[in-house]
C-alpha cells in the first residue's frame, strides 16, 4: 500500500509506527531511533511525518484556537473563563472590545455568561490567555450549548465545512463551533433539538463510515415529517 495513503489504522500506546526514515509527529515518541505511538488513536502519515490522531482526551489550548468559554469568576481587571480544558483561562479587560473601568468588570460579563473567544497565548506551563479583540468574537446571548469531545470537532465541521453547513441549512439554526468541543446554537426550539441530535450522532459515530449520508438521512426524515 502507498505510504502516503490514509488508512484508518488503530494504534495503541507503545505500538511501533515506523523504524525507518519518517519523522515523529503529534502523539508519538522516539525510543532507540524508532517511532512509537504515545496514545490511542488513528495513525496518519503526512509529508513524511507520522502522527497519531487522538480519539479522546481533554482539550489542550493552542494559540489561535477559536473557543467557546464560560465565565466562572470575576476579578477587578479580568474574568476567569472555563474553556472545557484542564486549564482555566483569564480574560483581561484589555482583551475585550469594550472600555472597562477598573472594578467594573461585572457590568460587562457576569458569571455563567458564554463567549466566543480566541486563545491568545499559551506558555510552557500551560498558562492560557484568551482574547475577544477580534472581529466576530463576542458574548453569546441566548441559545444552548452542546459539549462533545474536542477530537470530534473536525468531524462535526466536515470536509470544507460540509457537515455543519448541512445541519445549518436543514435546521435554520445559528451554530458556532469552538475548537474546545463546545458548540453553541440558537434557533427554533424544535430545530435545535434536531441539530443537537445530529451533533450527538456525529459524536457517537465519528469513526463510522458514511456518516454524512446517515446524518443527512436523519435530518431529511425529521423535516419531511414536519411538512
Amino acid at each position: 500500500m502507498n505510504k502516503e495513503s490514509m488508512t484508518r489504522e488503530l494504534v495503541l500506546p507503545g505500538d511501533l509506527l515506523d523504524a525507518g526514515d519518517m519523522k515523529p509527529g503529534e502523539g508519538t515518541y522516539v525510543h532507540d531511533g524508532k517511532i512509537f505511538a504515545a496514545m490511542l488513536g488513528i495513525k496518519s502519515v503526512k509529508s513524511n511525518f507520522v502522527n497519531v490522531i487522538p480519539l479522546g482526551g481533554r482539550y489542550i489550548p493552542a494559540p489561535g484556537d477559536m473557543i467557546i468559554g464560560k465565565v466562572i469568576d470575576i476579578g477587578p481587571s479580568n474574568w476567569l473563563v472555563d474553556i472545557y480544558s484542564p486549564y482555566p483561562a483569564p480574560l483581561h479587560v484589555n482583551e475585550v472590545p469594550w472600555r472597562v473601568e477598573f472594578g467594573d468588570t461585572a457590568r460587562y460579563l457576569g458569571v455563567g455568561d458564554t463567549l466566543l473567544a480566541k486563545v491568545l497565548s499559551v506558555d510552557e506551563t500551560k498558562r492560557v490567555q484568551v482574547t475577544m479583540k477580534e472581529q466576530g468574537l463576542r458574548k453569546l446571548q441566548g441559545g444552548q450549548i452542546v459539549e462533545i469531545s474536542h477530537s470530534k470537532v473536525p468531524r462535526v465541521i466536515g470536509k470544507n465545512g460540509s457537515m455543519i453547513q448541512m445541519i445549518k441549512t436543514y435546521t435554520n439554526c445559528r451554530i458556532f463551533i469552538g475548537q474546545n468541543g463546545r458548540i453553541w446554537m440558537d434557533g427554533n426550539m424544535e430545530d435545535m433539538v434536531h441539530a443537537m441530535r445530529a451533533i450527538k450522532m456525529i459524536d457517537e459515530g465519528a469513526q463510522t463510515l458514511k456518516l454524512t449520508e446517515r446524518v443527512k438521512e436523519f435530518l431529511e426524515s425529521v423535516y419531511r415529517k414536519e411538512e
Binding site: M6, T7, R8, L10, L12, P13, G14, G27, Y29, H31, F36, A38, M39, L40, G41, I42, S44, I53, P54, L55, G56, G57, R58, I60, M66, P86, Y87, P88, L116, E124, T125, K126, G136, S151, V153, P154, R155, I157, G158, K159, N160, G161, I164, Q165, K168, T169, R174, F176, I177, Q179, Q207, T208, L209, K210, L211, T212
Partner: protein, 259 residues
C-alpha cells in the same frame, strides 16, 4: 503467607488445587470503556478477582499546593470494597491500601508523559469488587487499560502479574489459598517492550535461582496479559469497515461565519 505449612497445594503431577499447571495463568477477562461518566475505564477479571478502574483527567489539580508546574501528577486510589473479601473489610483507606495506591501511582507516573500536562492531575480510581489474591496486579492491569482508554499519552500499556513459591516450587499467578499458605509472593509490573520493571515487591524468601526463574515466568506472563489488554482496547475502538470516509483536517476558516 503462612510460612511453613503442611498443606498440599500441588499434587504429584504438578497440578494445583484449582487445576492449573505451575506456569499457567488464571482465566483473564478485560473490558475497556465500561463506565460512561469517566474519561477512561476498564474492568478486569483475573480468576475470581474482579476489579474496576476509572480515570479522570488530566484535570485541574486540587489542592493547589500539590500542583507541579513542570508536569502532571498521577494520583491513584486503590480501594477494596467492604464485600470484596469473606470477612467484611472495614471501609476506608488502611495501611495496606495506602501503600498499594502509592506503588501504582509511581508505576503509572513513569509510563505517562506527564510533562505534556503541567499543573494538572490525572486521577485513577481502582475499586476491588472481589478479591482472590493478586488484586494489586489486577488493579494495575486495569488502570493501564483505563489510562489508554482516556486518551492519555503514555509509553506503553503496563501489565502486572504475581509469581510465588508454593510447596518449594515456583508458581505463576497465585490464588487465595496459595497466597495464604505459600512460601513467597512476588508481584511484578513491567513495560513489555523494554523489559523495564515498574513494580516489584517480595513477601517471603526466594533463593537467587528461584528468583531468576520467577522473574522469567513473570515476564512471559506479562507479555500474555499485555496482548489481552491491547485486544480489549482494539475491541472497544473497532473501526467500522476499517476505511476512511474523510480525513480529519483543520477546520475551514469561515465555519463560524453566520450563514
Amino acid at each position: 503467607m503462612g510460612g511453613n505449612s503442611d498443606m498440599k497445594l500441588i499434587d504429584e503431577n504438578g497440578i494445583r488445587i484449582d487445576g492449573r499447571k505451575v506456569d499457567e495463568l488464571r482465566p483473564i477477562k478485560i473490558e475497556a470503556g465500561v463506565l460512561k461518566s469517566a474519561d477512561g475505564s476498564a474492568y478486569v477479571e483475573i480468576g475470581k478477582n474482579k476489579v474496576l478502574a476509572a480515570v479522570y483527567g488530566p484535570r485541574e489539580c486540587h489542592p493547589r499546593h500539590m500542583q507541579n508546574p513542570a508536569k502532571a501528577i498521577v494520583q491513584c486510589k486503590y480501594n477494596m470494597i467492604s464485600f470484596s473479601v469473606s470477612d467484611r473489610k472495614r471501609p476506608g483507606p488502611d495501611r495496606r491500601s495506602v501503600e498499594i495506591s502509592k506503588l501504582i501511582s509511581e508505576a503509572m507516573e513513569y509510563v505517562v508523559f506527564t510533562e505534556n500536562y503541567p499543573r494538572t492531575s490525572i486521577d485513577v480510581y481502582i475499586e476491588v469488587l472481589q478479591a482472590n489474591a493478586g488484586t494489586r496486579c489486577a488493579g494495575l492491569t486495569a488502570a493501564a487499560v483505563a489510562l489508554a482508554d482516556a486518551g492519555i499519552p503514555m509509553k506503553d500499556i503496563v501489565p502486572a502479574v504475581a509469581v510465588g513459591k508454593v510447596n518449594d516450587q515456583v508458581v505463576l499467578d497465585l490464588n487465595k489459598e496459595e497466597d495464604n499458605y505459600g512460601q513467597a509472593d512476588l508481584p511484578i509490573a513491567m513495560i513489555p517492550r523494554t523489559g523495564e520493571v515498574l513494580l516489584m515487591q517480595m513477601d517471603g524468601h526466594l533463593t537467587q535461582a528461584e528468583f531468576d526463574k520467577a522473574l522469567e515466568m513473570g515476564v512471559k506472563a506479562c507479555h500474555e496479559i499485555y496482548e489481552l489488554q491491547k485486544d480489549a482496547l482494539r475491541r472497544r475502538y473497532a473501526i467500522v469497515n476499517g476505511e476512511t470516509e474523510e480525513e480529519p483536517k483543520e477546520p475551514a476558516e469561515d465555519v463560524n461565519e453566520e450563514a
